[in-house]
């Protein structure tokens, strides 16, 4: 049986390897992003020469100049791909990590903007990831903008969102049009169901594709080497998806 998380990991990995997107030689993963991290580990396990820098890696953390080094690398253009999410994401790919209602999240507070206001503009491509796909997350217009989806031409910006992966589908982002387009529906989802659960407008083909399942080779990699690489940094995620065995050795 394929877990929903494994399917999402496979979908993110395919986006990373998309030959039409700018090359991803160095990928960074920020806080609390187990599915994007697993997708990067899968890409490595498939034999691709990709450097991965995990901000929260406990042992062997790649940053030796403090946590600012991630941002210094991105500022120089040395990070090719980053992942961001949002408590709210709108149809122009604006991200809200502050909260709903009046500033600073008087109705529902989200954690805060992290590095999004910087990273979104500094990296050539960003894959947006948010498992919850509902009209409260995918909104017509975010209540607050932590990081803008698009910038005027005079503002220094290296790239935009490439795609948005949710628990129901994959959207591609068309920066020129400033709109998402449905790329594929996860198995069991319908075009009408996704439309009803999405607060923003988007383009959709008449007969959308189905998100491909991970291959048996990919599943074996996920459940073996990828899980082993994930366990020290994401113990709770590994325990939930792949069982308690992944928890051992994390309290050393």
């Amino acid at each position: 049986m394929i877990r929903a998380e494994e399917r999402l990991i496979g979908a993110v990995a395919r986006l990373i390897l998309d030959p039409a997107a700018p090359p991803a030689r160095h990928i960074a993963v920020g806080a609390a992003s187990p599915i994007p991290a697993a997708a990067c580990f899968l890409v490595q396990a498939l034999g691709h020469d990709v450097r991965l820098s995990l901000l929260h890696q406990h042992a062997g953390n790649p940053f030796t100049e403090g946590t600012r080094e991630l941002f210094d690398l991105a500022g120089q253009g040395r990070i090719d791909l980053f992942f961001l999410g949002g408590g709210q994401i709108d149809g122009q790919a604006n991200l809200n990590l502050i909260g709903t209602g009046d500033w600073p999240g008087r109705s529902v507070r989200f954690p805060g903007s992290f590095g999004s206001a910087f990273m979104y503009l500094m990296v050539p491509r960003t894959i947006l990831f948010r498992e919850e796909h509902s009209s409260r997350v995918l909104v017509p217009r975010v209540d607050q903008i932590s990081a803008p989806g698009l910038s005027p031409p005079n503002v220094f910006r290296r790239g935009t969102a490439q795609a948005l992966v949710t628990g129901r589908c994959v959207f591609r982002f068309d920066a020129a049009a400033g709109r998402f387009a449905l790329a594929s529906l996860h198995p069991g989802e319908t075009a009408a169901g996704v439309r009803a659960a999405t607060g923003f407008g988007y383009d959709a083909p008449a007969a959308p594709e189905t998100t491909a399942d991970p291959t048996s080779e990919q599943l074996a990699l996920l459940r073996g080497p990828v899980r082993a690489r994930m366990a020290p940094t994401y113990p709770a995620f590994c325990a939930r998806v792949w069982g308690e065995a992944a928890r051992s050795g994390t309290d050393g």
């Binding site: 929260h56 940053f63 403090g66 941002f71 590095g115 220094f156 995620f237």
Partner: protein, 266 residues
């Protein structure tokens, strides 16, 4: 450099001080925070470098904090920081939102003794409208290129937990160099350590690069397992079960009071 007890160290941190604190994954001063709760500190203005976790949530819940400047408040895999969210909703906490590289850059400006530094990005974020202290200028070297300036920020106090100190007050933090930035930028820095080691860390070629010079450190206290329930380098991992229990108890006022009674004030 003074060698103090944990309680003496906590007593040196004045009410209402602007205090820089690293988060859970970065040698967070958890034992010192619990000592500050016991001493009944009030009105702290915390600066999360660059985000906030268990220590800030605990101090907020215990009524020690007037304001928090941070880029995010989170308990990682255990979700939102519950006492932070409660205090924000109740209106008892002033929240000043930032973004991670802006906090690093403001501290780096203080470290260099310059009044401000430029930072890319951020333009188009609503953060700008809520940061009257941040300014956008036109790049004087290449006009037509708007760029953010952030002011130098020198915390009155920096506090963190390090692996060890020597008798000269040098402290070892390994690769967590953001703690050096805190110590360089803060006017006074207080450090808890697992142990005191003999000799001089700066004379050991292998230790020196991960060491912060005692010139920046006002006082040190020994606090074994002082980052607990967070991790400390390769000394010990995070206590995931305890952090999950904290996250659960801190969801309610009564649960948080129970947490303080059992783990902080006991």
């Amino acid at each position: 450099m003074a060698m103090l007890t944990l309680a003496e160290l906590a007593a040196r941190i004045p009410d209402n001080a602007l205090v820089a604190v690293p988060p859970d994954n970065s040698l967070t001063p958890a034992a010192l925070a619990r000592a500050l709760v016991r001493r009944g500190v009030r009105g702290l203005r915390l600066l999360g470098v660059p985000v906030s976790g268990y220590v800030c949530d605990l101090l907020i819940g215990a009524g020690c904090v007037a304001s928090l400047q941070t880029s995010a408040a989170s308990l990682g895999e255990n979700g939102l920081a519950p006492r932070f969210a409660q205090a924000l909703a109740a209106g008892t906490l002033e929240v000043i939102d930032a973004t991670c590289p802006a906090i690093h850059t403001m501290l780096q400006a203080a470290e260099k003794g310059v009044p401000f530094m430029p930072l890319r990005g951020v333009l188009g974020s609503d953060l700008l409208a809520h940061r009257p202290d941040w300014r956008v200028i036109d790049n004087p070297f290449a006009p037509g290129d708007p760029i953010l300036l952030v002011p130098a920020l020198a915390p009155e106090i920096g506090m963190f937990h390090a692996l060890c100190a020597d008798e000269h007050g040098n402290v070892h933090v390994g690769r967590r160099r953001e703690l050096a930035t805190i110590a360089h930028a803060a006017r006074r820095t207080f450090v808890t350590v697992e142990r005191i080691v003999p000799g001089n860390l700066l004379e050991d070629e292998r230790m020196a690069a991960g060491t912060i010079s005692g010139v920046y450190i006002e006082a040190v206290a020994v606090a074994p397992r002082g980052a607990w329930p967070s991790a400390l380098l390769d000394e010990y991992g995070a206590d995931a079960a305890h952090l999950a229990e904290y996250a659960k108890l801190a969801r309610s006022d009564t649960g948080f009071a129970e947490y303080l009674a059992r783990f902080v004030c006991a």
